[in-house]
């Protein structure tokens, strides 16, 4: 992908707020437009990612921003909803159909485990309709088949919480110790509460434009979107909410999205300077190390222990603090990653800055079997 510039980003902090989703979304939308230096009337289209709100949610948010008169579409793909907006916007711009599209993700998720993750009624009534169960089984598989330990799971959470101390948009900004994580309430063994992200509220937005549009309008064209690849379930994937999988054959949604994204960008995992990945739970981050090609299979814990994925290391992962610290406003999480990566590539992250960052990747993985990887670089 050659022609797509991320001209502006905006965010509403992730957390818990008294305001409604419309106000929360409007803050991020206005922020992105102001950051890009354009107004709503310059847009060709608005794409809005949200999982749980109401009919015409994007239109309802925009009513607080302005009335551009252009098509507004709402996009939903569980935790990969944001990636849906990026995929469509980037492809429309690359194809020359449109010049400027606002991608907005917004969520005001209820507290507690995510209900309505696609489980059938009998699964829920039978006690199987609970998402952390799936993450627990994946974490256990990592512990059984590699040298990863429960202490490593705790240390993922410790690392991401440490990163979030310097992120004003994160929900949890206090450091935690390995002991605190290990002693937090057990949820689904081996996962404890502090190894799981909390659904919450927030919004993030990005303005995607063509290079020509950026040049003509004198916009900041520092950061380009080099590729985005989104995949859904193929025969041998297994994720929430499927009650069964093939015993022997298992494929990875994330690995397939990553391979496609790297191919399309002409950029390999060795060239990445930072990654924002879907750390729904601590084990998911370790799996992402493997599936995104940051390490060889079996070397996930070693990569973590080496400090490589901490800010200051070779390939910092979740310098924003990740979902473990920011919380996860489902529809906004992917664009939250884009916000972080763009600011990192611009060198504007202050004390959590990844020095010299030129290439970054974002990764989301969601219920219903959706995964997406996006690659960005600075010119």
């Amino acid at each position: 992908m050659d022609d797509v510039v991320i001209a502006g980003v905006g965010i509403h902090p992730f957390g818990r707020f008294d305001t409604g989703y419309r106000e929360i979304g409007a803050v991020a939308a206005r922020g992105a437009l102001a950051d890009a230096g354009i107004c709503l009337g310059d847009l060709d289209m608005v794409l809005v990612a949200n999982v749980g709100a109401e009919m015409a949610k994007g239109q309802n948010v925009l009513e607080l921003v302005g009335r551009p008169g252009v098509p507004v579409f709402n996009v939903e793909a569980a935790c990969a909803s944001s990636a849906g907006t990026l995929t469509m916007a980037a492809e429309l711009i690359e194809a020359g159909v449109h010049d400027a599209i606002l991608c907005l993700g917004v969520e005001k998720a209820p507290k507690g485990f995510i209900a309505g993750a696609g489980f059938e009624g009998w699964q829920i009534e039978s006690g199987l309709g609970i998402t952390p169960l799936y993450f627990a089984l994946a974490a256990q598989e990592l512990i059984e088949t590699t040298d990863a330990t429960i202490e490593d799971l705790a240390d993922v959470s410790v690392k991401n919480h440490r990163h979030a101390v310097d992120n004003p948009d994160a929900m949890f900004r206090s450091e935690v110790t390995r002991e605190q994580v290990l002693e937090s309430r057990a949820v689904c063994p081996p996962l404890n509460l502090l190894m799981l992200c909390a659904p919450n509220e927030g919004a993030a937005a990005a303005v995607l434009v063509s290079r020509k549009f950026a040049r003509e309008r004198g916009l900041d064209a520092t950061v380009r979107l080099r590729s985005v690849a989104t995949v859904s379930r193929s025969a041998d994937d297994w994720f929430v909410p499927a009650v069964s999988r093939q015993s022997a054959r298992m494929t990875s949604l994330t690995a397939r999205a990553a391979t496609l994204a790297y191919e399309r960008a002409g950029i390999g995992p060795d060239e990445l300077d930072l990654v924002e990945c879907q750390d729904t739970d601590a084990g998911s981050e370790l799996w992402a190390y493997r599936d995104l090609g940051l390490c060889k299979p079996g070397e996930e814990a070693a990569l973590l222990r080496s400090g490589a994925t901490t800010i200051g290391g070779r390939i910092p992962v979740n310098p924003s603090g990740g979902l473990l610290s920011k919380g996860e406003p489902l529809g906004a999480s992917g664009l939250g990653q884009v916000h972080e990566i763009v600011q990192q590539l611009r060198g504007r992250c202050g004390s959590r800055q990844v020095e010299g960052a030129r290439v970054g990747a974002g990764h989301v993985l969601g219920a219903g079997h959706n995964a997406s990887v996006v690659v960005m670089s600075r010119d």
Partner: protein, 130 residues
């Protein structure tokens, strides 16, 4: 009555606790079983045949639900197993006769009928040698 269709021949005669077989579909061309049974094979889109899975399976993964999930009619805490059937499909289920922490990889479990609300659904029962 097994309203979810997960139990083979799940008619009115099922009673809680009795051994049952899971209802699955098999695509001969792909040599592939799917549970729950599907109308079309997810790999080749042809119509599979329907039949029962073996009565016992081997635990290849396990966890537990320690706090009552919304909508569950099973009282937490309870252990859950991912059990692999000889047909090559692995299924999630509550292990109804084990305490949390008692299920281990390599255990054999059998499928049994369990009353969930007013429907008969499946659960696992451990078959440990002890």
């Amino acid at each position: 009555m097994n309203r979810s269709g997960t139990i083979h021949a799940g008619g009115d005669l099922l009673s809680p606790g009795s051994a049952v077989r899971l209802n699955a579909s098999f695509c001969r061309d792909c040599d592939r079983w799917e549970f729950p049974a599907r109308t079309y094979c997810p790999t080749c889109d042809q119509e599979p045949t329907t039949g029962p899975l073996s009565p016992t399976a081997e635990v290849i993964g396990h966890s537990a639900v320690l706090h009552q999930p919304p909508g569950s009619l099973i009282d937490a805490p309870y252990p859950v197993a991912l059990a692999s059937f000889p047909e090559g499909v692995a299924v999630l289920g509550v292990v109804e006769d084990a305490e949390v922490g008692e299920v281990a990889i390599g255990d054999q479990v059998e499928t049994v009928a369990r009353l969930v609300g007013d429907s008969i659904e499946y659960a696992f029962r451990s078959r440990r040698s002890s």
